[in-house]
């Protein structure tokens, strides 16, 4: 009977698909199976991640020494723009929801798939089209975009580089995000297994839910912003042109009304993953389930109220600066709730320091640094000094890369056996974790110092006094890139040659661990009824798992 340990008997979703043929490229590209769609996203997103990382390495090579090193100023401007566009729109924003949300949301709910499987496939195709448009834009007349990923007016309207196409690509990618969010909202409302009320859902589901609402409500605002810039470039309407009465600050409002909530699209799913990994590797139920769940919703909502802290030096009114600064400090509170509850979960737990857990520890350290430096930026007076310096660059890399990026790896190391039915080399994974945290701090910590010493961001050249720290940061980028390649190989080789994985190698108790690794097409070989709390580890007495 169903003990979660069925491998030989049933077929996995690799062997059985939703298309006529179960193998071959068309069985993937036309599959409506959420697991295959999640894996397709994994492949595409990984590819773009490495392109974006490579651009970062090239930028750091240029910045290794003052003056021109390997490229001219125009190329440098293009590189930092593309680095941002690729990392943000093609990697981090889709990232965890598209890969792990797609793969694991139905599993964690005890469902067979998402609410709208065909819409899900459409989301992926739209993502693919958007990414192709980004690549195409590199070869358009005028050369690749050089506005920075934030494409502020007036420069984005005036520059002769190719802007409309990459912006349109971002518009298309936004659609993919919206449709995914829509799908997840309806899935969570309608497809939970019997017995799973809202407060028995895993916390990854709660965070996916909160994220989905942000995707749906915030993304259209950047959609209209993008359209207005394209229209401005094409027709000169004047909406953001001061000479015609327009207001460039209004552009910044519209832009950040999306782009600030967007950072919560990036971090909330990651925090959800942390709330999965910590209980499993502490072998203890999560401390404060309801506060953590509610804090996800709180972050999502309050996150809409703080956008103009990106605009303290823009020329907006003093009244609004004070209000936004205050609201910014409030949004830090629910994140604090999560961190306290995670730590409390580990207290008196039975810690199993496997790679997912180590990566989560890195996350707590790196994200905390990022978050605390955010408080510096949230204070108007301090921000005026460090706005548009490397301090900001370091802050957001700590939260986005050190936060979400770290958890992308943690999630891979956690759910890899479930997705691929194989196990990776644990020692190698631990070494990767160690090098990662060292590389990260060598690469990014110097930037905090350079920032408050006055090194501006997006500058191609700099004063000689920054040369030493710039060099140090560049060395960090080499170690980091090597580590990223090592992580990739660690996992990629395991897909090919790894040992067969147990259905539940970590002793998790959420529903994905109660089916085979990898799961069958319809996720479970039995009807699921839920009568446990999500992190009730007493279930391990009845469940099959790999004991130490």
């Amino acid at each position: 009977m169903a003990d979660g340990n069925t491998h030989v008997a049933g077929k996995s979703f690799y062997e059985e698909g939703t298309t006529k043929k179960s193998t071959g490229i068309t069985s993937w590209l036309f599959s409506t199976d959420h697991k295959r769609i999640g894996l397709m996203y994994l492949v595409t997103i990984t590819a773009f991640f490495f392109v974006g990382a490579l651009f970062g390495v090239l930028m750091r090579l240029e910045l290794m020494a003052p003056g021109e090193t390997i490229m001219g100023a125009q190329e440098y401007n293009t590189l930092f723009t593309l680095h941002g566009v690729i990392m943000i729109f093609l990697f981090i924003i889709p990232g965890i929801p598209a890969i792990f949300g797609n793969f694991f949301l139905p599993l964690q709910l005890g469902a067979k798939d998402v609410a709208f499987p065909r819409l899900n496939l459409l989301s992926y195709w739209i993502y693919l089209i958007g990414s192709v448009l980004v690549i195409l834009s590199l070869f358009m007349q005028g050369g690749p975009i050089d506005t920075g990923w934030t494409f502020y007016v007036p420069y984005s309207v005036r520059t002769t580089t190719s802007v409309s196409l990459p912006l349109f690509a971002a518009f298309v990618l936004g659609f993919s995000s919206i449709l995914t969010g829509l799908n997840f909202i309806v899935t969570i409302h309608r497809m939970r297994a019997p017995g799973m009320n809202f407060f028995r859902m895993p916390l990854f589901v709660w965070s996916t839910y909160a994220t989905a609402w942000i995707q749906v409500i915030a993304t259209p605002v950047v959609g209209i912003t993008i359209l207005l810039v394209i229209i401005e470039r094409s027709f000169g309407v004047g909406i953001f042109d001061p000479a015609l009465g327009g207001d460039p600050i209004l552009f910044q409002h519209l832009f950040w009304i999306y782009s600030h909530p967007a950072v919560y699209i990036m971090i909330l799913p990651a925090m959800g993953v942390v709330s999965e990994i910590i209980p499993t590797f502490s072998r203890r139920t999560i401390f404060g389930y309801t506060p953590i769940a509610m804090s996800s919703l709180a972050i999502a909502f309050v996150g809409y109220l703080v956008w103009a802290h990106h605009m303290f030096t823009s020329g907006m009114s003093d009244t609004s600066r004070v209000i936004f600064s205050l609201l910014t400090y409030i949004v830090a509170l629910p994140s604090g709730v999560k961190v306290f509850n995670w730590v409390a979960t580990m207290y008196k737990g039975s810690i199993d320091p496997k790679p997912p857990f180590l990566w989560v520890m890195s996350f707590v350290f790196l994200f905390s640094i990022g978050g605390l430096t955010g408080l510096v930026l949230g204070s108007i007076t301090a921000d005026i000094h460090v706005h548009d310096t490397y301090f900001v660059v370091s802050h957001f890399h700590y939260v986005m890369f050190g936060g979400t990026g770290t958890i992308v790896f943690a999630a891979m190391y956690y759910w890899f056996p479930k997705m691929f039915g194989k196990m990776y080399n644990i020692k190698w994974a631990n070494i990767n974790a160690l090098f990662y945290i060292i590389a990260f701090n060598v690469l990014y910590f110097p930037k905090f110092i350079m920032g408050y010493q006055g090194m501006p961001r997006r500058y191609y050249d700099y004063l000689p006094e920054f040369a030493d720290l710039q060099m140090l940061s560049t060395i960090g980028s080499w170690i980091m890139f090597a580590t990223l390649v090592s992580i990739f190989l660690n996992l990629f080789l395991a897909i090919k040659k790894g040992k067969k994985a147990h259905n539940n190698p970590w002793g998790g108790v959420t529903l994905e661990w109660q089916t085979s690794s990898p799961p069958p097409l319809l996720n479970f070989d039995r009807e699921i009824t839920v009568n446990h709390e999500p992190y009730d580890f007493s279930q391990l007495k009845e469940l099959d798992y790999e004991s130490k």
Binding site: M191, I249, W307, M316, S317, T319, S320, E527
Partner: protein, 98 residues
């Protein structure tokens, strides 16, 4: 697994109520056009927006049927509306006080 309802809500309206709503909408339209001809000064915009809001409420509640749907639809609508409102208010803290 929670099975979707394959049946629509048991009660279904006749044509009549919708025609009544439509008549109300036409009436409100003529009111708003007439009112625009009167000089209400600073109140003109709020009045116009209020009438538009009443028309919208009729369309949303009856034509879009939300009055008769599960409360969750109204919750969702409220959420989105409140978010939009908040965005307006916060933006105007800048524009108004410059």
């Amino acid at each position: 697994m929670e099975h979707g309802n394959t049946e629509h809500k048991t009660h279904s309206h006749g044509y009549g109520i919708y025609v009544l709503v439509w008549l109300a909408l036409i009436a409100l339209t003529s009111i708003t056009v007439t009112v625009a001809g009167v000089d209400f000064g600073k109140l003109a915009l709020p009045i116009a927006l209020f009438i538009a809001a009443v028309k919208s409420a009729l369309v949303i509640n009856y034509f879009m049927h939300i009055k008769f749907e599960d409360p969750i639809f109204k919750v969702f609508l409220l959420l989105s509306g409140v978010t939009l409102l908040v965005i307006f208010i916060l933006t105007f803290f800048d524009v108004f006080y410059r």
